[in-house]
Amino acid sequence: MSEFNLERPLIMHIDLNSCFATVEQQARPMLRGKPIGIVNRATEHTAIVTASYEAKAMGVKVGMKFREAKVLCPGLIAIESDPPKYRYVYHKLLDIMREYSAHVTMKSIDEGIIDFHYATPDVLTRDMVEIAHEIKRRLKEEIGVWMRCNIGISTNRFLAKTAAGLNKPDGLTVLTSHNLREVFCTLELTDLTGIAHRNERRLNSVGIYTPLEFLAADVVTLQKIVFKSVIGRWWHDRLRGREVDDVSSDVKRVGRQYVLERFDLSYDEILGRLHHLCESVGSRMRSQQKSARGIYVYGKSRRYGYWHSSTLASLPFYSDATIYALARRLFEKAPDELKEIGIHVYELEPLHDEQISLFYDEMVRERSVTEAIDQINRRYGDHTIHSAHTLESGVYVRQKIPFGSTRYL
């Protein structure tokens, strides 16, 4: 396989095993060895966010309703998620990773990548496998003895992540041209990150049913027939260990959603929760020094399914009051029997002085008030100052585990 990237493997992907469940078992030793499911709310109707390995062995899967999981695993223990605990572990892991290279990218709260191409010579002369073992040991010493992680090492991000997904838990795999075929033999197409059912169908349509067949496909087939774009070439390179995923994405939207705690809430109570989401989104957006022009509101109704509405303002907005005023206007057309609501703002722009307009004084005043509120909340804690309308909703709409983006950790 001469076309494979034959460079020294210098990309390391680190994935904390069943992160939230493992952290809870670390924090609470009496939970170790027991099947636990992390849930966002301690109710029978809640879904499992993370399951411990003991629970997974009994068939419990992420996303499963706790009630259904309990049938498979009668001894399953529900533990309500505790985001500050996971944030602490995230930062400890990040600190450890940054000691080896300046080029560290966290992909989510429980996984990250060290690119050793930019490491100092004293690190680069060391064996990568030795460093991986050291990181595993440090996790146990610096956080706790129950902490485990999977580590994958390869020449690009995609194969390093693939390697990190093998031999769970506590695995360590180096994936190179020497063992790539051997590893691909054991995988399904959908085991590859980025290949979900839609892409699987595309590949199946040209007779590609396994990762090995995917690897054998020529670039023209992938580019012209399967993916019908440059994405086909990227896949061709990706599978051969060439880097195509070292790209940083700018924040494009900021949002939050909330599954209503009861299905019989009044319209005004739901608005209170929407208002709370708007305050949270506003605060997050401003923490990135952004304002927005677009706003998108959605609701999931038990009877009418998914509903959404959006609008684009002519001038950028950033205050919680404006976000809520726009969201509320859109929300007037929301269907009944809602079970989930959400909002995000988009068309983000750097926060800078507004263009001179007829409303300049009013805008400067609004910005000053918003900045003063943000400063007070930073000093005395979130929601020290907020709208009276969200006085009661804060008990329910608490911050939960932020999946995906690590910008707000």
Partner: protein
Amino acid sequence: MNDETFLNERVEVIAVFGMGHHPCRPVKFRRASGREIEVRELGLRHPVFNGRRTVHMFDVTDGGADYRLEFDSEGLTWRLTMEADHYE
């Protein structure tokens, strides 16, 4: 679900302030009832920030139950805020 009791109980704590990765370790605490609990293992210590105020959460066990002790770094007070045993 599980057997957790949430509390807000002032407790007296003996802790060792040392070196290394876990510089503060509670060793023993006395509850309002007078019962003394010896800490067998510190599970995790993590900070929670409320504005500029920091509270350190210590999840500990005596081998029979898990406890959460909270140390308010501003008021220098310890509280027992959670007890959990025989998870069933």
